[in-house]
Structures are given as structure tokens and as C-alpha cells.
Amino acid sequence: MNRMKTRLKARLVVILCLVASLLYPLFELNEYRIYLMNIGLINCIVASGIVFVTGFAGQISFGQAAFYAIGAYSSAILTKTYKVPLSIGMAIGALISLLLGLALSIPSFKLRAFFLSLVTIGFGQIVHMILINWRSVTGGSYGFFGIPPMKIGGHIFSYGDYYLILLLTLMFVIFVMYKIRYSYIGKCMLAINDDEIAASTCGVNVKKLKMFAFAFSAVVASIAGSIYAHMSGFLTPEPFSFFQSSNFVAMAVIGGLRSILGGLIGGMVLTILPELLRLGKYRGWENYYLIVTSLIVIAIVVRMPKGLSQIPHVLLRRARRNVS
């Protein structure tokens, strides 16, 4: 009986959070803050993909910014240069990422940990170099301008509209991850994470699941990239560097690699934290905010190796103990 009650309560809390987050842009008048939230949501989506491939399937990827870039640039180039409809541009970007994600999973059949992360870093660098040097198509370091915004009918999307699109995308990604995590597919992924050799002798198709995990995280990052491109209207190669890739990984780690909400929590915290130090109440840290952010990140990693997503679990356990 008690268990049912706590489950009901948990469900209520989730629904309330969802409704509150859906209504947020109606009550927020500051455009910049909504824009910041949108960037946060984009980070959450990409970081959730890392939770899937690294936390669930155990395959390290330091190349997520590359898929993010592929989504952004494919969509931008197709819609602007080739006048392709926006949804098709996004789909083609996702398809390219899917294929490259599958290709990137091939080294993971043989390589582990450090060696695999080196391959993914290399892949990220190659994509970054292409963005900078293939000027006739990508605009190079000067950037790619004039990307058409999203619109429905004649209505051009505001930041609030992008917020809704991003939030729904994130919710969908987390929903799919949740379903997979608690099915036999998710358990097989955890088994691979624990012991690949034992998993293969139990009849688990290790290669297929790795390909699936890489492809999923690549497509997710690509879609986030496409939305980013249409929202910001111009692209430069700079935010798609290795620095951004490692930032995404940091988000997933801070949030909790093994947790479904790890990407959501880590993405938001690492987007908002630097801004809080730069603006807001704690203003005055302008020159140091990156240093302070890094120190806080280190503190979280040391104090909470399972990530911030452990906090609700701990609170819930305490609440249960109080009840019983």
C-alpha cells in the first residue's frame, strides 16, 4: 500500500515538473534567459546520448560534438544552399550521423577505454578540420550565415517555440532511453558494460548492440545540432571542437553516467552554473567563472562519483525510511 502511495507521489512530482517546464516560457519575459535554457536543453539532449552509449553500453565517445556539427551543418547547408525543406534537411543530417555513428562503432569491436577514446577524439578532429577548411561549402572560420529559421505557416519560431520543440525532443529521448533501459535490451547493454566476453558467451550480439548505441547517440546529437543551427541562424566551427566534446562528456559524468536523468541534470547544471557566476546575483566573477566552474565540477566528481542524479534517489530513500 505504502509502495503504491510513494509511486503515485513520484508520478505526481514528475507530471508537475513536466507541466511547469512546459509552461516556463509563458512566464519568462527575459529573451536571453529563454535562449540560455534552449542551449541548456540542447546540451541535455547530447549529454543524454552520451549517457546511453557510455553509461549504458560502456563505450566511451569523445566525438559527440562531431555529430552535433554534422546535424547543424547538414541542415544549414541543405536548407540554405540547396533550398531543401527544413524537415528533410534535418532528416538527412540525422541519416549521415547514423551512418557515421555505425562506422565509428566498428573500432569499438576491438578497442577499449583509452584506445577507443583516442579514435573518437580523432574522428571529432577530422570533422572539425573539414568544417574549417572546406570553405566553399561550410564558410570556413568566417562562419555560415543566413540559415532559415523554423516556421509553421507564416509564423517564424521565437525562442519560446524552440524551447518547446527542444523540450519535447528531450522528453522523447529520455522516454526511449527509459523504455530500453528497463527492457532486456538495456540489461544486455549493462551486461556488455560489465563483461563483454561473458555477454557474448551468453548469446548477446555484442557488435550489434554497440552499433545500436553509437548510432542512437549520434542521431540524438545530430538532431540537437540541426535545431541549434536553425535557432541561431549562423554557424562557426568554433563550438564544435574537441573542447565541446569533452564538455558534453563532463555533463554526462556530472549528471550521472548510469542514470537516465544524468544527461538532463548534467546538461542543465553545466549550462546555467557558468552563467550564474557571470551574471545574476553572484556577479563579479566574470574573470574567474571558468576556473570556479571547473573547481565545482571537480568537487562534484570527487564527492559524488555517481553524479548529481543520485541526490533524488538519496532523498527518496530517506523519505521512505521516515515513512516506515
Binding site: 527492457s183 532486456y184 540489461k187 561473458a198 557474448s200
Partner: protein, 257 residues
């Protein structure tokens, strides 16, 4: 011919200059317990790794039920009915005991990705069925009281047993056990021997790699002796027991003065 489940033809495996298996030709008969014994480093585990597909042979072939499986992936061989345990126990530590067994039931799960996402009736039914089968198996091995625990919380003997349960969940035709009696007490031996005999009576063929001679003597129908990667003797336990080659492999050559 029909009585042979698995045969290897001149199977060899070298690691650099070291030949871990040299031209091994072995037949495993259906419904029997075949034992593979030999001193440390004689290539017993390498042989199991070759048959389960974790290693690829340098030369030679492996035939399972008249199918050449030499170049098949490990998971394909597992699904064909070749299961194994490991010398150093390898369980999935982040899953609980029941889930460890469920992993190996994958071939009995008849639903796809979309069933999972949309939580279809088919998915729920197959999930329920899988857990039930896994539970029944654990119950048979007296592990059903531990289903919610993590493998690391179990005592050594139960961890061994859980690994065997996981291998059995594949409903294998051939079960390969890599030193199952290592570190067990006399009492646990006889329990394990009872389990093995029961499995054989259910039609499972067993390949046993073992150090403990008393145990091999108890259960094995046929014994192959390996030394430095080669088969040096074969036969029933009594036959190989007095073989001079076997004695010298285990105890060293007699010193002639």
C-alpha cells in the same frame, strides 16, 4: 556418427612463438561427460576458448553437430547450444541474480525494438515468460532465495552455481565447465557431481576441464590428457591413470642413475 556432438580436427593455436594447442583432435560424444585434464599451462582453457569462439584457431576446424563452426562468432555458437563457464567466475555485477540468468534467455525472447518502445502486449508477455523461466531454473539450483541480490553478495559456491545456471539458461546441448570444482570443499564436490549427473540425464553433454582428480574419477566417462598443448593420452580414468606418459607429465621423468 550420430553419437558425436562435437569434434575438432587438428586444432592448433599459437600465441607468437608459443603453441598453446598443437593439432588437437578430440571427439565429444552425446550424453557423456568428457574430461580434459593436464598440468597447469597445458592448454586446457585455450581449448575451451577455441570451441566457444573467444579465440580463433591458427589452423584446424571445429565441427558441432555436423556444422563447421570454426569461423562463427561466439554469440552465434552460444545460440547454437554451446554454453560455458569460466575458470575465474565472470558474472554481471551490476545486474541482480535473476537478471544474470535472464541475459542468457535472449534467444527465447520473441519481440523487437518497437515492441520495447511501445510496451506492446507481446513485449510484456515475453518479458514475464522469460523471468518465469529464469526463476524456475534458479529454483532448481536452490538459488531462488537470492534473486534480488547482487552476485558480489553471494558466497563463492553460490557464485559458481549461478554461473552454471546462467549457462544452462541457454538450454545448451554442450556445456563446458572450466574448473568448476576449484576451491570447493569435499561436500560441495559431491553436490556438484550430483548436479552434473542430473544434467546428463536430461540430455546435456558436458566437457569438463578439471584439476581435482578425485572429482574427475567420480564423474568422467572419458578423459583426454593434455601436456604442452598436445593430447598425450585418452581413455577411461582407469586406463589413463597408469599410463606412463601421463605419470611423467604430472610428476616428471624418473631420474635414471
Amino acid at each position: 556418427m550420430d553419437t558425436i556432438l562435437l569434434r575438432t580436427n587438428n586444432l592448433s593455436k599459437s600465441f607468437g612463438g608459443i603453441e598453446a594447442n598443437k593439432s588437437i583432435s578430440i571427439t565429444i560424444e552425446k550424453g557423456k561427460i568428457t574430461a580434459l585434464i593436464g598440468p597447469n599451462g597445458s592448454g586446457k582453457t585455450t581449448f575451451i576458448n577455441l570451441v566457444s569462439g573467444l579465440l580463433r584457431p591458427t589452423t584446424g576446424t571445429i565441427v558441432f553437430e555436423d556444422v563447421d563452426i570454426t569461423n562463427l562468432e561466439p554469440h552465434v555458437r552460444a545460440l547454437m547450444g554451446i554454453a560455458r563457464t569460466f575458470q575465474r567466475i565472470r558474472l554481471f555485477e551490476s545486474l541482480n541474480v535473476l537478471e544474470n540468468v535472464v541475459i542468457a534467455r535472449k534467444k527465447f525472447i520473441a519481440c523487437g525494438f518497437l515492441d520495447v518502445i511501445f510496451h506492446t502486449h507481446k513485449f510484456r508477455a515475453s518479458e514475464e515468460h522469460t523471468y518465469e523461466a529464469a526463476y524456475n531454473l534458479l529454483e532448481k539450483l536452490n538459488l531462488s532465495s537470492d534473486i534480488d541480490r547482487k552476485p558480489s553478495e553471494l558466497p563463492y559456491g553460490k557464485r559458481r552455481l549461478l554461473e552454471i545456471a546462467r549457462a544452462l539458461a541457454l538450454e545448451p546441448k554442450l556445456l563446458m565447465l572450466d574448473e568448476p570444482a576449484a576451491g570447493m570443499t569435499q561436500l560441495e564436490y559431491s553436490e556438484l557431481a550430483r548436479v552434473l549427473r542430473e544434467l546428463v540425464s536430461q540430455g546435456i553433454t558436458i566437457l569438463l576441464v578439471e584439476h581435482t582428480m578425485d572429482f574427475v574419477k567420480d564423474v568422467a566417462d572419458k578423459v583426454y590428457v593434455l601436456s604442452f598443448g598436445q593430447v598425450i593420452a585418452q581413455g577411461t580414468f582407469d586406463e589413463i591413470q597408469h599410463d606412463p606418459a601421463v605419470i611423467s607429465a604430472y610428476l616428471g621423468e624418473e631420474v635414471v642413475t
